[in-house]
């Protein structure tokens, strides 16, 4: 309960600080936040678009959260998303199957690719004690640059822009509500959250993952093979981010290009922190950030407050969550690095 309160306090404080900033440049915070809400939830199209924005945040947020639960800090969700999206797009363009087979396969490819990409960091951590914090950051840039190279070179599918060829029509996720971009990806992400909550709580693998996250030592005494458990946790985390990439490709862009993600994978860290790494909490906090991001454009258009205010609020949410975590859940924050490899602590 305490944690819930501290999450709300972090969000409220950040919004209040945003309001103060607006006052500083003579904008009306009430009008601005009003416009934001109006834009995000005031119409069918707006609400649908909020859900569209929520979807990748929800999936990547789940990924970061599951890593946190295993005592790992996955900063690489953005790179895993990119790798997942790229592989999904390439597969979707190359393979032509009936929709019912093609779409699940595209998702599976995206998830597998993201999972493998993240598993590299897990393996480096388990095998060499290399901090997953640093390796996931580095893997992000390798993913961005590699994807960039591939779409401007070997995998370039169009002459007009550096992007892959469009996916086959049978791989396209069509909007659920006409006139919007809302696809089945959103309910799918909700199901993923529920499934992850259940998996963490009820399965042996989830139980062992949580045990490793809470106390590597006690897990070892309980017969858990800690190294492989770490690799598996990173792989699961990356698979969720890869899935987020797939949904963007299949539902929105229908191909891969480098501008696919405006930084969902980075925002997902804020999403997971605010949710205290609870999968069901991630639904709420992903919606919160999805709402902010979608409403920001309306806020800019109708209240004259730049949309970038939302980034400032987001930064403050992370900052205040870090301070709140300390007060409410001291025991949950623990050093999560190998003996030699690296740096930093991570919440679990």
């Amino acid at each position: 309960m305490n944690r819930l309160a501290s999450s709300f306090a972090a969000a409220a404080l950040a919004l209040a600080a945003g309001a103060l900033a607006m006052l500083a440049f003579h904008a009306d915070p009430i009008a601005a936040y009003g416009a934001l809400l109006q834009g995000a939830l005031g119409s069918v199209q707006g609400t649908a678009e909020t859900f569209v924005q929520t979807t990748p945040l929800l999936l990547t947020g789940l990924g970061v959260a599951v890593a946190f639960r295993a005592g790992l800090f996955n900063i690489g969700a953005e790179g895993q998303l990119v790798v997942g999206a790229l592989c999904s797009a390439v597969f979707g363009a190359w393979v032509h199957l009936p929709t019912l087979a093609e779409i699940p396969l595209c998702f599976a490819v995206g998830a597998a690719a993201g999972g493998l990409w993240a598993a590299i960091a897990g393996w480096l951590r388990a095998r060499f004690g290399a901090s997953e914090i640093i390796t996931t950051i580095m893997l992000n840039y390798i993913a961005f640059l590699g994807a960039n190279y591939l779409v401007s070179g070997p995998l370039r599918g169009s002459n007009a822009a550096p992007e892959t060829a469009p996916i086959s029509p049978s791989a396209v996720l069509h909007p659920l509500v006409s006139g919007t971009r809302l696809t089945a990806a959103f309910p799918l992400a909700l199901i993923a959250a529920a499934a992850l909550a259940w998996w963490l709580r009820r399965t042996v693998a989830g139980y062992e993952l949580r045990a490793v996250g809470q106390s590597e030592r006690a897990a070892r005494y309980a017969g858990v093979n800690v190294g492989p458990a770490i690799v598996r946790a990173m792989a699961l985390s990356g698979a969720l981010a890869g899935l987020a990439g797939s949904t963007e490709v299949l539902g929105l862009l229908h191909r891969f290009n480098a501008q696919l993600s405006p930084g969902y994978g980075f925002t997902s860290i804020a999403v997971a922190l605010l949710a205290n790494s609870s999968p069901l909490g991630v639904i709420v906090s992903a919606f919160f950030f999805g709402l902010l991001q979608n409403g920001a454009l309306f806020m800019q258009a109708y209240a004259g407050v730049p949309k970038d205010l939302v980034s400032v609020v987001e930064g403050l949410v992370i900052l205040f969550s870090a301070a709140g975590m300390l007060r409410s859940a001291r025991g949950r924050a623990r050093v999560a690095v190998g003996p030699e490899g690296g740096v930093g602590t991570a919440p679990t």
Binding site: R202, V204, A211, Y221, G331
Partner: protein, 505 residues
């Protein structure tokens, strides 16, 4: 010239210190004179470390005073204590691994002009000091390249460089080889002859008798008495340390005779992470028998237990359980064969503190009892309920976090879990350390019941009364080697103490 008659330089007068309900020091009087080696002995948890922390300014007494040269002082930190001429060598060294010997010794007091370091004069100074005490230390060597004995010399130099008048040595021989220990005592004698006061915290009786001018015994936070070595022997000191046995420690005879040999250990070598390791250890234990392992903490007991449990790989030797070689079997598979472990650190090893009671009740058996890939919710709940019932777990609810139980209840939960389906081989380390009498009694009773039900139990304990009360025979470890085997009847404190100190009986 044994008896020191120099002035008292450092004294604790009637100091008391409590941590919650635990009384760590109660009205303790303790002093040390110039030119004297004053040993402070006692069992683990007797309050020695607390007393030293009070003397060194790391904590403040709840009541009573600390006096230097007869004047009451109040140190705000150990920096003040050092200024007053007190230096302490901690059991766990406080050294900067990547710094050189000289950099460590001179830290905070580096010579040099205008803030620049003068490495040469610093190394020269340290070399002079080291040579003076006969330490073969190169001042330029990084500390991370040094062995335990040399590191201790660096710690000593840190204190001596500040020209401390009082040196507190906390368990200085705990991690030393016998040769290193005897070299250390030469230094201690040297320090005494220089007129310094030395407080030596120890529990190896022989060492204490050979090096100290005065010996004070602490038990359960109180001073039991002070003696001079000429008037004491090991048996007497052992008795003072351990004290009278209480009802809790009454022996309960075994029901029935032990059965066949269940556990066969052949010349096992286990490397140490720190401490002694285990060397050439052999043992045959029967089903329905409790084998006690006695010894000062850190003499190979944990290495033995963890090698049997499958967490530490032996470098030589073999382990067989019920005729089956398990030397290189994984921990999870050993659990399938009925190997159970009650680890010494219940909070960090025995439990996941933020897991619920029922989740903790499953720990270790999550794979064996799983239903498909799902955790067995009903079994888990039933097991937690059964433990709560049988062990009278106070404040039980399946969803209460393990963190929220008292130490006694945490241990009941662990023992209950490890015994919930019986055990073929039960490894138990310090099962009642820090527990109140009630919880200790429950746990001992359960261990006996498990033995009578046919488990082979290996009991590592630092509590001699507990060993005598529970074990059917007692094996003593010193430096990772078995130094003797006793029946509980003839395991008197004097004999045990000598074997624990490495003297054959």
């Amino acid at each position: 010239m044994r008896a020191a008659d120099g002035p008292v330089v450092l004294a604790a007068c009637g100091v008391s210190k409590r941590f919650g309900a635990l009384v760590a020091n109660e009205a303790v009087d303790f002093d040390v004179r110039a030119g004297e080696v004053h040993a402070l002995i006692g069992e683990n948890g007797a309050g020695k470390s607390t007393l030293m922390s009070l003397l060194y300014g790391l904590m403040h007494p709840d009541s009573g005073t600390i006096a230097v040269d007869g004047r009451a002082v109040r140190f705000s930190s150990c920096v003040d204590a050092m200024k007053a001429g007190i230096g302490m060598v901690f059991q766990h060294f406080l050294l900067v691994e990547r710094f050189s010997v000289a950099q460590n010794v001179m830290l905070g007091r580096e010579p040099g002009r205008r803030g620049m370091l003068d490495r040469r004069s610093s190394e020269k100074e340290v070399a002079r000091l080291a040579t003076g005490y006969g330490f073969a230390l190169n001042p330029a060597t990084p500390v991370e390249d040094l062995g335990v004995g040399a590191r201790q010399q660096v710690e000593l130099l840190k204190v001596l460089e500040r020209n401390a008048r009082v040196l507190i040595l906390d368990e200085p021989t705990a991690a030393l080889s016998p040769q290193e220990a005897s070299a250390l005592f030469d230094i201690v004698h040297r320090l005494r002859s220089e007129g310094r006061a030395v407080i030596l915290i120890a529990h190896k009786l022989k060492e204490v008798l050979s090096v100290a001018d005065r010996i004070t015994v602490l038990r359960r936070g109180k001073v039991v008495g002070s003696v001079e070595p000429e008037q004491a022997d090991e048996a007497q000191l052992g008795l003072m340390m351990v004290g009278r046995s209480i009802d809790l420690d009454k022996r309960v005879p075994r029901i029935g005779a032990p059965a066949d040999v269940a556990l066969r250990i052949t010349s096992l070598d286990v490397p140490a992470s720190s401490g002694a390791g285990l060397h050439g250890f052999s043992l045959q234990a029967r089903a329905g028998e409790i084998v006690g392992i006695a010894g000062v903490e850190g003499n190979g007991q944990i290495e033995l237990a963890e090698a049997l449990y499958g967490l530490r790989e032996p470098t030589a030797g073999a382990i067989a359980l019920e005729g089956r070689d398990i030397t290189s079997m994984s921990c999870a598979n050993r659990r399938r064969l009925g190997v159970r472990y009650v680890p010494p650190d219940r909070q960090r090893e025995g439990l996941v503190l933020d897991f619920s009671t029922e989740e903790n009740a499953l720990l270790g058996d999550q794979r064996r009892l799983r239903r498909g890939s799902v955790i067995p919710a009903k079994t888990m709940r039933r097991r937690a309920d059964a433990i709560a019932r049988e062990y009278a777990l106070a404040g039980y609810s399946p969803s209460v976090k393990a963190r929220d139980y008292s130490g006694g209840n945490q241990q009941r939960l662990i023992v209950g879990r490890e015994l919930s389906e019986g055990a073929a081989l039960l490894l138990v380390c310090a099962p009642t350390r820090g527990l109140d009498v009630g919880a200790a009694a429950v746990i001992r009773e359960r261990l006996r019941a498990a033995r009578d039900a046919g488990a082979c139990i290996l009991l590592v304990s630092y509590d001699l009364d507990e060993l005598r009360a529970l074990a059917d025979r007692i094996i003593v470890l010193c430096g990772g080697v078995a130094t003797g085997e006793l029946t509980p009847e003839n395991a008197d404190d004097a004999t045990l103490g000598m074997l624990m100190g490495g003297i054959a009986a």
